[in-house]
């Protein structure tokens, strides 16, 4: 969901828009009869509500802004939460970085238990769990001989990716999820939206944590 009122500049645009609408209603009312002003006000209110709803759904957003590193190092943004320590993911990272000067950035969105918890910012426990998983995965990645750092991200994975790309000049993205029948990220279209909005190579890795545990 896109917040249409993020800054003073946004608020000013609202003042100008509502001001123009108010002038139209006032002019029509003074030139004709109040009932015409009421009808125009209702129509403008409905139109405005429609526009606000449309923009809040994110339909007017552009592609994600990217930063680029200039030192020849290959940078991989790895996005994972519960699957962050999965063997399949580590294997993919090893493959991506074979014979390259590679840097890994592990982004672990703090998964809120519910939408209500997300809106209430009740994510302390989720952050702590994400931090623990991320730290273990950083150890595992560094054991592969790779440079790695990590960050806890927004509980919306797509927002977390956008946030991370503002500071980490990734060359490619790896998103790790549970298998389709268990993955809330896949159900929510996280990978598809990332592909649509981010102009970077993106690899989707499926990690079956339960199967890996049973094998080990």
């Amino acid at each position: 969901m896109h917040n249409p009122l993020r800054s003073e500049a946004d608020a000013f645009r609202w003042v100008v828009t509502i001001g123009v609408a108010a002038v139209a209603v006032i002019a029509l009312t003074l030139l004709t009869r109040p009932v015409f002003g009421v009808v125009l006000a209702a129509a403008l209110l409905g139109f405005g509500a429609g526009i606000a709803y449309r923009s809040s759904r994110g339909s007017e957003r552009g592609p994600v802004e990217l930063t680029r590193g200039r030192d020849g190092r290959h940078r991989v943004l790895v996005v994972a939460n519960e699957t962050v320590g999965g063997e399949a993911l580590l294997e993919e990272i090893r493959e991506r970085c074979r014979e390259k000067d590679c840097e890994i950035f592990v982004l672990t969105p703090a998964l809120a238990g519910s939408r209500a918890a997300h809106w209430a910012s009740d994510v302390d426990e989720a952050i702590e769990l994400a931090r623990q998983r991320m730290e273990l995965s950083l150890i595992a990645i560094k054991e592969l001989g790779l440079k790695a750092k990590g960050e806890i991200g927004d509980s919306d994975p797509n927002v977390a990716i956008e946030d991370a790309l503002r500071t980490f000049p990734a060359d490619e993205i790896v998103i790790s999820t549970h298998p389709p029948q268990r993955s809330r990220w896949l159900e929510g279209g996280v990978v598809e939206r990332a592909r649509e909005r981010i102009d970077l190579p993106l690899t989707h890795v499926v990690v079956d944590v339960a199967a890996e545990r049973s094998v080990s």
């Binding site: 917040n3 009122l5 993020r6 800054s7 003073e8 500049a9 608020a11 000013f12 609202w14 003042v15 100008v16 509502i18 001001g19 108010a22 209603v25 006032i26 009312t29 003074l30 109040p34 002003g37 009421v38 006000a41 703090a110 910012s121 994510v123 302390d124 952050i127 702590e128 931090r131 991320m134 730290e135 950083l138 150890i139 560094k142 750092k149 990590g150 960050e151 806890i152 991200g153 927004d154 509980s155 927002v159 977390a160 946030d163 991370a164 503002r166």
Partner: protein
Amino acid sequence: MESATVALGHGHEEHHGPPEANQSSRIDRQTLGILLFIVSEVMLFGAFFASYFFLRVVVNPSEWPPHPYELPVAVAGINTAILVSSSFTIHYALESIRRGNRAGLKLGLVLTWLLGATFLFIQINEYVHIGFSDRDLAFGSIFYGLTGLHGAHVFVGLLLLSFATIRAFRGHFGPAAKDHLGVEVPGIYWHFVDVMWLIVYTAVYIL
């Protein structure tokens, strides 16, 4: 977004107490705070508007305003223009500091404060000369209730602008977004106050 770059071996041991609050870079906490406050204010104004439209539409008196009362539409219209102008001046102040123009910031803030104070002065003058009080029918109560509620918000906005102006003259604020939140947040509030007046003026004085 919270950063948790980990130094192996000792990163986690140094952390005490509950984990740091998560913050997305989508919006800073101060701006989110004023937006949530504005949401509550919209509900407050909504309650007053509900009363107003109940009186006008459901009770449906034969005359509105009731005879012999009249509302000073022209004077309030000029007052509306004054208040809306102040949105442009506060925006100018913000745009100035974003470009590092401190003189523009000060000028914009002073002009905004003066326009806001002028609006409030004219409104008080209107109350003195309007010819009815809040005890005169439900019409008087809702008129003073709605416009008075808005006037109180202008007063609070002027207080916030006063703090911002004093700080600007003391050399506070800078071009970076985090360095002028003390103007950005009152600016958002001031725009809200302007929008509410546009709605109050249109609904109460015009329609």
